[in-house]
């Protein structure tokens, strides 16, 4: 039985089809989850994809946090369900307090879309287990509000416990503190990532296939379990 990975669609989600495609390419089964349906339909992991949920007019992710599906996701995540939030999904995870800190407007105040080098710094999460420690990868980055911020204590804790999952290389593209591109919760099952690995799973349509590891990771870990 292939691992079943749910991909949530909020109104305004954009990269949900891309995330589903990445899941399939990694050999898992993608299951679409609807924001208004609280059921997770027995999936083994959940992806909150990129986009502009509910328009993101107030603060990114602020409204999505209150959707019926998120009530269930929050509870399941606290019980250890692997959850990956990409871009807007990362913002939703922060707004939902599954991850600390917040994401604010890029320091240069423009939307940025580029091929972004990253370094993977934690390979013990279900999403990053197929990478090597300190592996450098390139995946697309595209956001207007991707600056990660948190207070000093939180930052120190993230650093001390290896909870910075990915860090920007070759220049900070959005003003994120400590060049942080992605973090995880204490338990490691919840990962938030600003860049888009789901856009780097086919050589033809992305900068390469470096992003596939995030999806291979969750497919593999669950199979072994």
């Amino acid at each position: 039985m292939p691992v079943r990975v749910g991909v949530v669609s909020f109104p305004g989600s954009l990269d949900d089809r891309d995330a589903a495609r990445a899941v399939r390419i990694a050999g898992a089964e993608s299951v679409s989850l609807w924001h208004a349906d609280p059921s997770l339909h027995d999936v083994d992991a959940v992806i909150l994809p990129g986009g502009f949920s509910y328009g993101d007019y107030l603060r990114c992710g602020a409204i999505a946090r209150f959707s019926p599906v998120m009530q269930t996701v929050v509870a399941a995540a606290r019980d250890g369900l692997p959850v990956l939030g990409i871009c807007n999904g990362f913002q939703v995870l922060c707004e939902s307090h599954l991850l600390p800190g917040a994401l604010i407007r890029n320091d240069h105040r423009k939307f940025v879309c580029k091929e972004q080098p990253l370094r993977i710094e934690n390979v013990s999460t279900p999403w990053t287990s197929s990478y090597r420690m300190r592996q450098d990868i390139v995946v697309p980055l595209k956001n207007g509000e991707g600056g990660y911020i948190a207070d000093e204590r939180t930052l120190a804790e993230l650093e001390a416990n290896g909870r910075v999952v990915a860090r920007y290389l070759g220049g900070n593209p959005n003003g994120s503190y400590h060049d942080i591109a992605g973090i995880c919760n204490e338990r490691g099952n919840v990962v938030g990532l600003m860049p888009h690995p789901e856009h780097a799973v086919e050589a033809l349509t992305g900068p390469g296939t470096d992003g596939l590891g995030f999806f291979l990771g969750v497919a593999g870990v669950q199979e072994a379990a």
Binding site: G55, Y57, L58, A62, I63, F66
Partner: protein, 76 residues
């Protein structure tokens, strides 16, 4: 030195998608009784005493607000 507050709001006839989104979210949150929300910008300026009302109005009109679609108020 004084703190001056400038609030910038969309003109009433202009569509405010932000405000609409919040009204919608409140409904889904089960909060009732909020019939309309308009979202604007709020600026807090630290200004020296040499900056008079006229200068402030010019700052608001050229930089803080877009007079084509927004109105502003200044509080000293």
């Amino acid at each position: 030195m004084a703190r001056v507050v400038v609030d910038v709001v969309l003109k009433p006839e202009i569509l405010d998608p932000q405000g609409q989104a919040i009204v919608g979210a409140l409904g889904r949150l089960g909060v009732h009784g909020v019939s309309d929300v308009r979202q604007g910008k709020h600026f807090e300026l630290e200004v020296g005493d040499e900056v008079d009302d006229e200068a402030l109005a010019r700052i608001a009109d050229t930089l803080l607000a877009n007079p084509v679609i927004e109105n502003f108020t200044i509080r000293r």
